[in-house]
């Protein structure tokens, strides 16, 4: 063996060893990074009942809500239920680019899992209650295309359903209008949706290991996921928006995805969402809310409509992100790899910014990309149904 080939051999050995030796996570992450990791949990976060919905946490309502969630008779044609687009076998989404029910919706169907932890609902945040967003889908001509009269008549014509709903109402009361009947059904369905919470993930166990300084448990988290997490916190600066246990700040952002639905038609995103929210009856502070007090109601009621809201869409949760392709508000990005390509080769000219850009083209290497995918996959439970 000549001298150069000896050096080449030693160098190759060093590179090989540096990738194969177990990495001490305690040293792999700085104290600052560990503190950032801790802020992404614990999971699930504490959540109180939804005091705007009198059926929140009511086991009878939850059982009836699940049945109504799957009931196609709530739609005008009898062809669509909530589960037509929020399929439990597809992580309560539909796996399609955009939702197709009574019509073709310009937006992608978001998963309903963990939605109880959100502040706003829908890609534009046009509602601040879980029951309100369900009602919006029931009434939307492109979704279930129903009406308060249709829902009220259906419930009233079905003796069993009428009795089941009646047992949930306060004694000696009954809905006096079709709108009231509709809202009761929306709230009962929402009580079921609240129960859809994702399971513990490999990332959550790693985070817990850091919290407890358990080096053996830290070592079980794959090295590629560790590197991806380091990128996510550091150079990627992903936690600017994907912050906290839900991996979202629950607000809205423009990430340069085109918002033209077709030539001449624009999806205004958050801008239209705020306008719709301000005129909706299904709000926390609205006439059908069962509890209007509280910091959350005060907060959402004081939302500002700003020019920058044009083209902003909800920052999605990254929990179980690997299970909810395709991505973005219009479903235009097919895979996680393509999402990462989008951020890596971001066209900064498309973004609205007055100051230092929050998003920058990341120019990632192939290894950085595959590490980030490994990390994002670790945000899914190995056995999502927990059985």
């Amino acid at each position: 063996m000549t001298m150069p080939s000896t050096w080449t051999f030693l160098l190759s050995l060093f590179v090989l060893l540096s990738f194969s030796l177990p990495v001490n996570a305690s040293q792999f992450f700085t104290d600052e990074e560990k503190s950032q990791i801790l802020a992404q949990g614990p999971w699930p976060p504490k959540a109180s009942l939804d005091h705007t919905n009198r059926y929140s946490g009511n086991s009878q309502a939850i059982a009836l809500g699940e049945s109504l969630f799957n009931d196609k008779n709530l739609s005008s044609s009898g062809e669509f239920s909530c589960s037509s687009c929020h399929d439990k076998n597809k992580y309560f989404a539909d796996g399609l680019k955009v939702a197709i029910a009574a019509g073709k919706n310009p937006r992608n169907t978001p998963s309903l899992v963990n939605s109880k932890f959100q502040r706003w609902f829908g890609w534009g945040g046009s509602v601040d209650t879980l029951w309100g967003v369900g009602l919006r889908a029931i009434l939307n001509p492109l979704e279930m295309d129903s009406s308060a009269d249709h829902v009220s008549q259906y419930i009233s014509s079905n003796q069993k359903l009428t009795q089941q709903v009646k047992t949930l109402l306060p004694p000696d009361t009954q809905p006096t209008t079709a709108d009231e009947h509709l809202v009761i059904i929306g709230k009962i369905i929402a009580s079921f949706i609240e129960t859809l919470v994702s399971k513990e993930t490999p990332f959550d166990r790693f985070r817990q290991a850091i919290a407890e300084d358990d080096k053996d448990a830290m070592a079980t988290y794959p090295l590629a996921a560790k590197r991806g997490l380091k990128f996510f916190l550091g150079r990627g600066r992903c936690t600017v928006c994907h912050f906290g246990p839900l991996f979202t700040n629950k607000e809205f952002a423009d990430i340069g995805i085109p918002y033209f639905v077709k030539p001449g038609t624009v999806d205004k995103g958050r801008y239209q969402g705020i306008k719709d929210f301000k005129t909706s009856s299904f709000n926390r502070a609205g006439p059908y809310s069962d509890g209007k007090a509280g910091a959350q109601t005060l907060l959402t009621g004081r939302i500002k409509l700003q020019h920058r809201n044009w083209g902003e869409f909800r920052v999605p949760s990254l929990r179980s992100v690997a299970d909810t392709a395709p991505y973005m508000h219009n479903g235009s990005v097919k895979s996680l790899t393509e999402v990462i390509d989008h951020y890596s080769e971001l066209n900064e000219d498309r973004l609205h910014t007055d100051g230092i850009a929050i998003l920058r083209s990341l120019n990632m290497s192939p290894t950085e990309k595959s590490d980030l995918v490994a990390f994002l996959k670790s945000l899914s439970a190995e056995n999502p149904k927990g059985d």
């Binding site: 503190s35 950032q36 802020a39 936690t239 600017v240 928006c241 912050f243 906290g244 700040n249 629950k250 607000e251 809205f252 910091a295 959350q296 005060l298 907060l299 004081r302 939302i303 500002k304 700003q306 920058r308 910014t353 007055d354 100051g355 230092i356 929050i358």
Partner: protein, 140 residues
Amino acid sequence: MKLYKTTTLFFAILLTSFASQIAHADTCLPLENASGAIKNADFNLSYKTEPSKISVSKPFSLHVKVCETGQTPYKANLKLDATMPKHRHGMNFTPKISKQSSGLFLIEGMLLHMPGEWQYKFDLKGKDRKVQLTKDFLLK
């Protein structure tokens, strides 16, 4: 004569006590255990957050006490915004500001939706001009 002196003394004590109470009521002191304070030549502003530790994208309130020079409570209106100066954007919400008592304000509906460098901007009405007091802080 003795009665006159006693009465005078009594009234003197009463007056002193009354005057001291008035002075005490008007004395404007910063909030105890304040989370932050800003001083300039005209104002001394202190604030306390509720909860004491604020978190990214979670609602919180601010108790604000404003004293003018000479320790008199500030009586005019107060405005507050929080911005990220480097990104040139502010909050997504307009906070609700209520005057509680002399110099004391309650600000509800605050929410900082990103980690990073933020700045409180308090707008006050000075003697002959508007005054803005700012405080930079890092939210993690």
